[in-house]
Symmetry: C2
Subunit: 238 residues, 2 copies
């Protein structure tokens, strides 16, 4: 990762850094290749030379961070599962592996991780077809893996319910990371935190865990509930 990120020397790296920053600030479409080239201190033609067009550039901006992020998520999860020696992981560990890694990246304001996570959060809502397909590809394996881990961790909760809740958790995280200003709007009064980005992680984690372990909605039948009395316990014991 270190080789690939934040190269002040070569043009290619400078373009990617500038793109990341401007995309996060103004959005993908509102950022023109001209704007971007100027910010990177190079020529318009150069950006097209390196990435073959705007679409290629966007893809690369996401790829260089996302592959690392998702690999790291899997690494942490693997580590945890190895330590658990066959027993299902507790839900809070699974969330830690998925969201904790992302939140640590979002708190890294020097390496550009914060900028990228802001961009990523906004991009989840992007209607453009090509970017949705691209993100779907990048995420498919990771989501599948974490989904299965949650299934194992919460055997009393119907799988469909877990899928929905994973969806909700992704939304809460995206929005929380992308919208710092939205929080200020709600707060109105000053939040006492000096650094909101650092204060976010523990707060979001406990919120997500609460949502994941919430009582099931009325009329929801447990499809895989074991016929013993541990049902209630396993919904609490995270």
């Amino acid at each position: 990762m270190a080789d690939e990120i934040a190269s002040v020397v070569d043009t290619r790296g400078r373009i990617l850094d500038a793109a990341e920053r401007l995309f996060a600030q103004h959005g993908l479409e509102a950022t023109s290749m001209r704007m971007l080239s100027a910010a990177a201190g190079c020529n318009l033609a150069s950006t097209n030379y390196h990435f073959g067009g705007k679409e290629g550039l966007i893809r690369e901006v996401f790829r260089r961070r996302l592959t690392w992020l998702n690999r790291e998520r899997l690494r942490v999860l693997d580590e945890m599962e190895a330590a658990a020696t066959g027993r299902p992981l507790k839900p809070h560990l699974i969330l830690e592996a998925f969201f904790g890694v992302a939140l640590r990246m979002a708190a890294d304001s020097e390496g550009g991780g914060a900028t990228f996570m802001r961009l990523l959060g906004r991009t989840y809502a992007e209607p453009s077809q090509f970017i949705r397909n691209f993100l779907a590809e990048e995420y498919a394996a990771v989501l599948e893996r974490f989904k299965r881990a949650l299934f194992r961790a919460l055997p009393a909760v119907p799988e469909a319910e877990i899928v929905w809740r994973l969806h909700f958790m992704l939304g809460a995280m995206s929005y929380a990371i992308a919208g710092t200003d939205a929080l200020k709007l709600i707060a109105h009064c000053e939040l006492d935190e000096a650094n909101p980005a650092a204060a976010l992680a523990p707060r979001l984690m406990s919120f997500l865990l609460g949502g994941l372990r919430a009582p099931l909605p009325a009329g929801c039948t447990a499809q895989r509930a074991k016929p013993d009395a541990k049902v209630r316990r396993s919904r609490r014991a995270a």
Copy 2:
């Protein structure tokens, strides 16, 4: 509202309906005034005549639904508070007033409410300054009111924590409504629901309530906790 929405007769209404649909589908910037005029069956110049430009049109698309939505939220909350005769409302009722109203609108596929809510969900992540300011204005009063209701309902939870959690809940809802396809990505296997939009509401509500009532993150001191033994109870009794 009935007068203002879905007029097939007058051009102005047809433009608004077409704009709502196309904005939700392609995004604000990716939808051109030409595309939009064609879909509305009128001329490009006409749309500029009625709304004074693209920005004015966007503003009006949101205004006609948002003022109704937020007024309805306040109406329901007022009604609940009147019925409670001075006692603080239970958290689940407050969430019902805020999110329930929105979710019912999102489930209305005939009146265009579903389309609009999809648009709204995506727009929360919009980086454009003018649209953020506009939404901030439209929401300020409602958020303030619901914030205070939650403060009263959860006296043992620090106000800052409630603000954060309101923020998280807004994110979960936006994303849940905006991203139907994202869910399919996660699911991979088929969800048995015939109508995902209708299945959403109870699931999201229980998730949000679980998050709102989650145990406080470690190191979080209750700033207004009363010095009696009811603290634990009031965090559960929703």
